[in-house]
């Protein structure tokens, strides 16, 4: 089995008296979609923010490609090759697709600060092509004129533009219609097929069961179970989310009750 590219061991995090994460173990494997599921308040966002360098961790260890790393700043994560696509898409409406994809990392001609728009356009087009995005007619389109699915596509393409190895997607299909959800899920699958480690945070069981390879259920700040999709079904995952246990797997009854 391949080694995880990004993993956390015995992660603990408290906000004041509230113990949000209890000894959380979490692994992201290259070429796989890992779904992170859990009810509201289970600690999904807190965990993601620990990887993003927005939250500091109280104890535990994060390793990236086998080496222990400390993430203090969002830029630390970006520098390692970990990208985040948040629910409220961080796109500027008044700029076009290329400009958004290269925002903050523009290519300039030589050492000057003059932009090389042509080179950026070419790379944006190549990236979208490599993701088999067919819904965009021009990379010069303003983002304001794009549909929700196209915007999500641009946000994801932006995350993989710079050879990132791990991509976190927070509710990428939340506000999308059926057809657009389809496009985005295809895109998520392709990211993994290209060898990225993809983390999909979602409430939508259909999405999870469709694209995920591995499902990690959080229950009140603990990892209830990590299961392969092939070995599970929706009912079991829902039970893990809502009760922390399902049949033989999940938290021991005592632990599950204690954390209530």
């Amino acid at each position: 089995m391949t080694e995880p590219i990004l993993s956390a061991r015995r992660l603990n995090k408290s906000f004041g008296p509230v113990h949000v994460l209890h000894d959380v173990d979490f692994d992201v494997y290259p070429g796989e979609v890992t779904a992170l599921v859990g009810d509201n308040g289970a600690g999904k966002s807190t965990l993601v923010k620990c990887f993003a360098g927005i939250n500091s961790i109280d104890s535990g260890e994060i390793t990236y490609e086998g080496k222990a790393v400390t993430l203090h700043d969002p830029r630390d994560a970006t520098a390692l090759g970990i990208e985040f696509v948040y629910q409220d898409l961080a796109l500027a409406d008044n700029l076009d697709i290329t400009q958004n994809m290269f925002l903050g990392r523009e290519i300039t001609s030589g050492r000057s600060s003059f932009l090389s728009d042509g080179e950026m356009e070419r790379q944006a087009r190549d990236t979208l092509t490599s993701l088999s995005v067919r819904t965009v007619s021009s990379v010069r389109q303003l983002v304001a004129n794009l549909s929700g699915g196209q915007r999500q596509t641009v946000a994801i393409a932006k995350a993989v533009l710079f050879n990132s190895k791990v991509v976190f997607l927070d509710e990428p299909t939340a506000a999308l219609g059926v057809a657009q959800t389809r496009q985005v899920l295809d895109l998520v699958r392709r990211l993994a097929d290209q060898g990225h480690g993809v983390v999909l945070i979602s409430h939508n069981m259909n999405d999870v069961m469709e694209v995920a390879d591995r499902i990690v259920a959080l229950y009140l700040g603990r990892v209830a179970a990590e299961v392969m999709k092939a070995d599970t079904n929706t009912t079991q995952v829902v039970e893990l989310i809502t009760a922390g246990r399902s049949g033989g797997i999940g938290l021991a009854a005592a632990t599950a009750d204690e954390t209530m």
Binding site: D88, G104, V139, R190
Partner: protein, 479 residues
């Protein structure tokens, strides 16, 4: 819908070639003249009218005023407009930077007035620190204020602003400001220091820009009166200062200017098109490039021919050549356009104005962008103050106060710059300033029309411009 998506079974190579042909079809094509025209119509339809409303407004006003007075369309009268409107255009150019961020700078006019007043006093008295110079405490305020400005600019990582302010400080303490040109440079440097203060209060302390600059709008008016000690200074005695508004390029230099501007534009666009063709990128076809260049060249040549003919009304004092204020405004507009559309700084400014959170997450230093925008705005305000003093031949006690700033904001908005940020271009300020400037000019030609109409008409024009913006925004949201 899902069955329309290709299955992953399709080999990537065939998929790639297929996508290239289909998906980005618009990106590899050459844009012909008709494509460009259709694209432009499409933009109008989807609510991005660009410069069209302001240019139409300009033409309509010109037609109306040519009926009001036969003198309106004479070369003499048209030649006066740059002197009457340059200060609005220049302050407006500075405001574009701040408006693009969705902020406002109400103090640019009076800050510019105070800066220009200091320059006027420095030249008039011969020594800012002397007996006829600044009141003692004000001199030390200026010297220390500039030092603080340098320190704050360094702290806010606006290093270029720090250098500019440092130059101003050196000019002030060494009393090089007794020379007119250096005094005017110092005025711009002082303006930059004021901009650092604005930027700090808005971006770092977090006071709304409207309040910060409203407060300083009031404060700088008082400072101007302190500086001048109740005594306006005549600026028309200084030929350099007078010529900023009323000078003309010689016929030879007029042609040099036109050829450099038009030729530079044509050469640049041809180069871009060829470069893109070489790399197989979307580009404008050569015929489109040449058509655009040709139209610009035609306009430039016609205007230059008209400008280089004698338009003086007194036979003994021929007046010909492109007016200096027009040259200054055009050069500044070109520099602003390059800075905004061709540099990373400009790209980051648009991004910050469009979605500050997105910009922050993309690693852009939003505070730095805001501070530099305010610095530029106040520096342009100082240039505008200098031009205003030239235009009214005096550093008056109310220099830059009153309607000056409001006219400049109006110019930018009439030209098409959005007050909500993220949308606008430097050329907007120039076109808008022309609209604002021809209203008093046209009405002034017929003394029987009460001057009260001037404010009413300006107000109506501004309201129309804002309405066009709002309607097009609604259409854009619907489409």
């Amino acid at each position: 819908m899902s069955d329309q998506t290709p299955e992953t079974g399709v080999s990537t190579e065939t998929a790639t070639t297929h996508e290239r042909a289909g998906a980005f079809s618009l990106d590899v094509e050459e844009r012909s003249i008709s494509d460009a025209f259709n694209g432009w119509i499409g933009k109008l339809r989807t609510g991005d009218p660009g410069a069209l409303p302001s240019v139409l407004g300009l033409i309509i006003l010109a037609i109306i005023f040519s009926q009001v007075s036969s003198r309106f369309l004479t070369r003499y009268n048209i030649g006066n407009i740059p002197a009457q409107g340059a200060y609005i255009a220049i302050i407006g150019l500075g405001l574009v930077f701040v408006l693009l961020l969705g902020e406002i700078d109400l103090s640019a006019g009076t800050a510019g007035g105070a800066s220009a007043a200091i320059a006027a006093l420095a030249v008039f008295s011969g020594n800012l620190h002397g007996r006829t110079g600044l009141p003692g405490f004000l001199y030390w305020c200026l010297v220390i204020g500039l030092l603080i400005g340098i320190a704050m600019a360094v702290w806010l990582k606006a290093y270029s602003a720090a250098v500019v302010i440092a130059i101003g400080w050196i000019l002030v303490v060494t009393n090089l400001t007794q020379h007119l040109f250096l005094a005017l440079v110092a005025a711009v440097c002082i303006g930059s220091a004021i901009g650092v203060l604005n930027g700090y209060l808005v971006a770092k302390v977090g006071i709304p820009s409207f309040v910060v600059t409203l407060a300083l709008f009031l404060a700088w008016q008082g400072v101007t009166q302190f500086v001048l000690s109740g005594q306006p200074i005549n600026t028309s005695n200084y030929s350099l200062w007078y010529n900023l508004a009323y000078g003309n390029l010689s016929v030879f230099w007029s042609w040099v200017f036109t050829i450099v501007v038009v030729g530079g534009y044509i050469a640049y666009t041809i180069l871009v098109s060829l470069n893109a063709k070489r790399r197989d990128l979307a580009r404008d076809s050569m015929s489109l490039v040449l058509l655009r260049g040709g139209v610009l060249a035609l306009v430039g040549i016609v205007l230059t021919v008209l400008a280089t003919q004698n338009r003086g009304v007194i036979a003994s004092a021929p007046r010909r050549g492109i007016p200096t204020p027009a040259v200054i405004a055009i050069v500044l507009m070109i520099l602003c356009t390059i800075a905004l559309s061709k540099t990373t700084w400009g790209r980051h400014l648009y991004a910050t104005g469009g979605n500050a959170e997105a910009a922050r997450r993309a690693g852009i230093d939003v505070v730095h962008i805001k501070v530099t925008a305010f610095v530029l705005c106040s520096a342009f305000g100082a240039m505008g103050g200098v031009m205003l003093a030239a235009s009214q031949s005096s550093a008056s006690l109310d220099l830059g106060a009153g309607n000056v700033l409001l006219f400049s904001v109006a110019a930018a908005v009439i030209g098409g710059t959005s007050l909500f940020g993220g949308r606008g271009k430097p050329r907007d300020a120039i076109i808008g300033a022309l609209v604002i400037a021809i209203i008093p000019n046209g009405l002034g030609l017929r003394p029987s029309i009460n001057p009260q109409w001037q404010s009413v008409i300006t107000g109506v024009v501004l309201l129309l411009a804002a309405a066009v913006d709002a309607v097009s925004r609604r259409r854009a949201a619907r489409s």
